[in-house]
């Protein structure tokens, strides 16, 4: 059935308008246009000299007036938001300046125990969104038993980005499978982590079953609550709303929202936010009303693949807008794999497998850290960067 004309118009207008992405707008401080569009070619030659002189005089006077009222100093765009990031990459775990990505300090974590781990270093990071309080989980798998152990650390940084505190085992070490995601509430009281698969049996009969597990720990009391899923997939992209109740997650490529106060012990009680969209990553906004979902739009043969971050309403699953959209024509499928709100919801950290770790402020994208070069022996994406603020 053909859609109504009104729907066709809405669809065409929306698709066309979204070609103007927030990241493509010129920076807000560039207030002066290079050239007025109509003063070109032969018309420009026809402009009377007197008019040109008037323009010069007016321009000079205006410049003098503006010069007198504009504050002195560099015209750099003022990036606000959290002061520091925690970053895990091939160089270990470092504190970075959130404006520039420069290393402020290095987090002195204990030596990595013998075993295998997911790059980078088996680390998962979470931040309270203030750029000062961070949680780190590190999963290492024994090569002999294939059992993983995950330790949890809390790090705080001072106003200069130097480690002010590093607490080991803020919750008991978890033995079993590898941790795949980590998130902490803005007030730092609830920690959520997910584990791959489930451990079945006991003692010598221990074995791994399909499915994954999500645990929320109330840090002041130490109480925990766990949800499981039989999906043969990881639970990824954990993100808290500020109410400490709603938790965003991605499982089986579905972006979901879980009410952690609702009864139930499986992820069946969670709700899919944007049905039909294959999510690679997501983040729920601090106000819990919307969710950013990274997904990839496959090429139809005429256009390149596109990897996109769309914002959806959590309430009704309606698409609100497209935040970022990139084309990709490489051999390896491009995707977004990190989206993190800060505590206010006004600043974002994003990274893709081919996009540098960047921050997004009012539509302005600032690249912070570029991926290292991929290992030439390994086909695929460049090394992953994990980050939190």
């Amino acid at each position: 059935m053909r859609p109504s004309l009104e729907d066709q118009l809405r669809d065409a207008f929306t698709a066309a308008a979204e070609q103007v992405g927030p990241e493509t707008l010129r920076p807000a401080e560039e207030a002066v246009r290079a050239k007025p569009g109509f003063l070109t070619r032969r018309f420009a030659l026809a402009v009377p000299l007197a008019a040109a002189l008037v323009v010069v005089v007016i321009g000079t006077v205006t410049a003098m007036v503006i010069g007198a009222t504009t504050p002195a100093g560099p015209a750099a765009y003022s990036l606000t938001g959290p002061p520091f990031l925690l970053v895990a990459d091939g160089d270990g775990v470092t504190v970075r300046e959130a404006r520039t990505g420069k290393v402020a300090s290095r987090v002195g974590l204990p030596p990595v125990p013998e075993g295998s781990f997911r790059e980078p270093g088996g680390y998962l990071l979470a931040g309270a969104g203030d750029g000062e309080t961070f949680y780190i989980a590190q999963s290492v798998t024994s090569r002999g038993t294939q059992v993983s152990s995950t330790r949890f650390y809390r790090a705080r940084v001072d106003e200069r980005g130097r480690p002010a505190e590093l607490v080991r085992d803020v919750i008991p070490q978890v033995i079993g499978t590898t941790a795949s995601s980590l998130s902490v509430t803005g007030d730092g009281t609830r920690l959520a982590y997910s584990l791959d698969g489930k451990v079945c049996g006991q003692g010598t009969t221990v074995r791994f079953c399909p499915g994954a597990q999500l645990t929320v720990v109330d840090l002041p009391t130490g109480t925990t609550r766990t949800w499981t899923t039989n999906a043969a997939a990881q639970i990824e992209s954990l993100s808290w709303a500020a109410d400490r109740r709603l938790l965003g997650l991605v499982v089986r490529s579905e972006a979901r929202v879980l009410d952690t106060t609702a009864p139930g012990a499986t992820l069946a009680i969670s709700r899919v936010v944007a049905p039909g969209e294959e999510a690679t990553t997501s983040a729920i906004s601090p106000d819990g009303r919307s969710m950013l979902i990274g997904h990839t739009q496959l090429s139809d043969g005429r256009q390149p693949h596109r990897y996109i971050i769309d914002e959806y309403s959590v309430t009704d699953g309606r698409k609100i807008r497209t935040l970022l959209s990139r084309g990709s024509d490489g051999d390896v499928m491009a995707r977004w794999d990190l989206i993190r709100y800060d505590g206010t919801g006004r600043h974002l950290l994003v990274a893709g497998n081919f996009d540098p770790l960047s921050r997004l402020d009012d539509g302005r994208v600032t690249s912070l850290i570029h991926h290292g070069s991929p290992d030439p022996k390994l086909l695929g994406s460049p090394p992953e960067i994990r980050a939190a603020w």
Binding site: Q8, F13, T24, G363
Partner: protein
């Protein structure tokens, strides 16, 4: 203007979609609107003029005019409709300039969309857009305001500076023309 924008960025301001506080100054309000409404206004202008650079110029001029005339505005709660009207007027000016340039230089009309933009739209949407482009200026503006911004007839009337009855008849005629055009193409 730049000072105001930077100041707004540095503040831990209220959420973007909430209205400005009652005691906010003109600069604060304009800066807040610039942060929250600029993208949607640029997109509106883009749909009307066809290229992003010009659309951004039009919106920038609209904000500059708002800032300049702030003290003379009688109803500060109606700033967004004023901005929309200013953007639509700016787009009309662009079309007039282009028309003058074509007459003076004898150039052929430049394509509305870049080749890349047209390719990204896909064939069906391109067809719809071509039909919209062929509408008279007033009808084109009315359908964009109605079906892109989802404005009511009253809001469209305010933005375009015409009566509600004229909006109704304009949109009706536009839809009729589009139906004939699109059905004829199939």
């Amino acid at each position: 203007m730049r000072f105001a924008i930077e100041r707004a960025v540095q503040q831990s301001a209220p959420p973007p979609h909430e209205g400005p506080p009652a005691e906010a100054t003109g600069e604060d309000v304009v800066a807040e609107l610039f942060l929250t409404q600029r993208l949607s206004l640029v997109r509106l202008a883009f749909l009307l003029v066809g290229d992003q650079e010009t659309a951004e110029d039009v919106v920038q001029d609209a904000f500059a005019a708002l800032h300049r005339r702030w003290s003379r505005l009688t109803d500060h709660d109606r700033v967004l409709p004023y901005l929309r009207a200013s953007v639509v007027n700016g787009c009309r000016m662009v079309h007039r300039r282009r028309s003058i340039m074509r007459r003076i230089t004898g150039d052929r009309q430049t394509p509305f969309w870049s080749a890349e933009a047209a390719a990204l739209l896909g064939e069906t949407r391109r067809e719809v857009f071509k039909a919209v482009r062929a509408l008279p200026r007033r009808q084109r503006e009315a359908v964009v305001l109605r079906y892109y911004l989802d404005l009511s007839e009253a809001e469209i009337a305010e933005t375009m500076g015409i009566s509600r009855g004229t909006v109704k008849s304009t949109v009706f005629r536009a839809l009729k023309a589009l139906t004939v055009k699109l059905e004829g193409n199939r």
